[in-house]
Amino acid sequence: MLDVKNICKTFNAGTVNEKRALNGVSVHINDGESIAVIGGNGAGKSTLLNAVAGVWTVDEGTISIGGVDVTHLPEHKRAAYIGRVFQDPMMGTAATMQIEENLALAARRGKKRGFRAGITKAEREEYRELLRTLDLGLENRMTSKVGLLSGGQRQALTLLMATLQKPKLLLLDEHTAALDPKTAAKVMETTRTLVNRDRLTTLMITHNMKDAIEYGDRLIMMNEGKIVLDIAGEEKQKLTVEDLLARFSVASGGAMLSDKAILS
């Protein structure tokens, strides 16, 4: 479904702040596969996700989604294939718009927007049912401004928006990192439910080793802009946090993960 070939990205090239964020990354994700991405700060995890989402274009390499070469497509055109949830709960929704308006915007992702109604009556009913599945009581607050919701509620809503139209690829960028542990667990549960329901091809960044091990079919570890570990199948199922730390230490030549990663 996703085919990333040898992509490179350098920020601030030619200055003292030059940073080679992606250094020849290649990864292939099969249809319906879900992958957890881990790595220390500055390893290139978010850069990889942003490269796929098209926040900027890569310096080298190609990216294709479902057989379509998207390497040079702008972000808003790639959005036709991609559902995204960001780390910052503020980023995925429009705070000054209503819950139902946000969902209606997401329902039109990748479609031509013309002079049809921004939201229809039939849609409202559909959204009410979908919101009910979140079990957050949002189905009774459909005309409330999203800005009034808590961080966890916003992330759950963003998840719903990202999957409202089945995306070819779901990108989750540490989407529970800004939440308290209890809310984070709940949002992770919602993620699992939605991903399993639609068999979504997913790329999820996490700082949480446990989440990375429990979640998904495959685990990728990044260091210094490269993929240093790629564990799948039975091997992944047997993995423990201790294994992972040990293997990371070997793969990265003795470097340690950030404190945050070790503590979690």
Binding site: A53, P74, E75, H76, K77, A79, A80, I82, R84, F86, M90, M91, G92, T93, A94, A95, T96, M97, E101, A104, L105, A106, R108, R109, G110, K111, R113, G114, F115, R116, A117, G118, I119, M161
Partner: protein
């Protein structure tokens, strides 16, 4: 007593100005409130609207057609600012200033069309000689020629069309762009297109306002738009301060900008009666807008903190 009578007598004129500027305020609302950009093009495009309308009428065109041409000129002005901002990456404020500056020269040329001189700073219209839709001369008359009728209808039509538009898919994508540009792009919205479209619509409305003003006042001048952005902001802010708690519907929010403009002109009429010179008005307007813009900030900065300490 005489002063009061004179003030009441001048109220219809304040309403006329207020309605005409109200349409301009709606244009400012679209960029400033919906798109979150302060667009300074409007100082130029208001005069462009007036100039185009006045020239068309001087050449004997139908006054309705003159209004339409003025709107088209405004749309183009907005398009230029939009392209400078999105395609050329110039910050929105600066893009607006550049277009505004360029329009000053263009407006002088526009007003000279059909005359022997190459540039012209004013163009007079007379309801005696020309076919005008509205004129301030009849603002106190009870009859169909009262300009307030045309102005009220214009305001209603503008609000109705915008209410419809912003409920459409394309209108919603424009609102989303202003609310959260990252989210809008992630939902597949071409945010550059949204920004250009908002600037185009806004300046079209501002030019319509300029065209109505030119007919209403009986003249177009090259500096009729000087400080227009501040008057527009004043109208938007006065409307919000007074009505934001009661007017929740989008159409009513647009209407509150128009009412803000009317109140602004009533206050202006009052202070002129109290002996201020017309040339002092810009200072007064700037002070009023600065105070209203500063209030939320000062509230948070000083009273917010103190409140927090009490709670702790």
């Amino acid at each position: 007593m005489d002063g009061l009578l004179a003030f009441i007598n001048s109220l219809p004129g304040a309403f006329g100005q207020g309605f005409a500027w109200g349409i301009m305020a709606i244009g400012v609302y679209i960029t400033y409130r919906i798109l979150d950009i302060a667009d300074l093009t409007v100082d130029g495009s208001l005069a462009t609207g007036g100039a185009v309308c006045a020239v068309c009428i001087t050449m004997g065109w139908n006054p309705w057609l003159a209004l339409l041409m003025a709107v088209v000129a405004g749309l183009l002005a907005g398009l230029i600012t939009g392209l400078l901002h999105t395609a050329c990456g110039i910050p929105a404020i600066l893009a607006g200033i550049l277009t505004q500056l360029a329009l000053y020269s263009i407006n002088l040329r526009i007003m000279a069309i059909g005359s022997e001189s190459t540039t012209k700073a004013t163009l007079a219209l007379s309801v005696d000689k020309q076919n005008l839709i509205l004129s301030s001369r009849y603002v106190r008359e009870l009859g169909l020629n009262n300009p307030l009728i045309v102005l009220v209808i214009a305001v209603i039509v503008v609000i109705a069309v915008l209410y419809w538009f912003f409920g459409r898919e394309i209108g919603c994508s424009l609102r989303a762009t202003g609310a959260n540009v990252n989210m809008a792009r992630a939902q597949g919205i071409n945010t550059n297109f949204s920004k250009v479209l908002a600037l185009v619509i806004s300046n079209g409305l501002v030019a319509l306002s300029g065209a109505l003003l030119a007919q209403y006042q009986g003249s177009a001048t090259v500096d009729m738009g000087r400080g227009a952005i501040v008057i527009g902001l004043a109208a938007v802010i006065i409307g919000e301060v007074l009505f934001s708690k009661v007017f929740l519907n989008f159409a009513l929010k647009l209407l509150s900008a128009v009412i803000g403009a009317i109140i602004y002109y009533i206050v202006i009429t009052l202070v002129l009666r109290l002996g201020l010179e017309a040339t002092d008005l810009k200072l007064l307007t700037a002070v009023v807008v600065a105070i209203f813009l500063a209030i939320p900030h000062i509230k948070n900065q000083y009273f917010g903190k103190r409140g927090g300490k009490h709670h702790a």
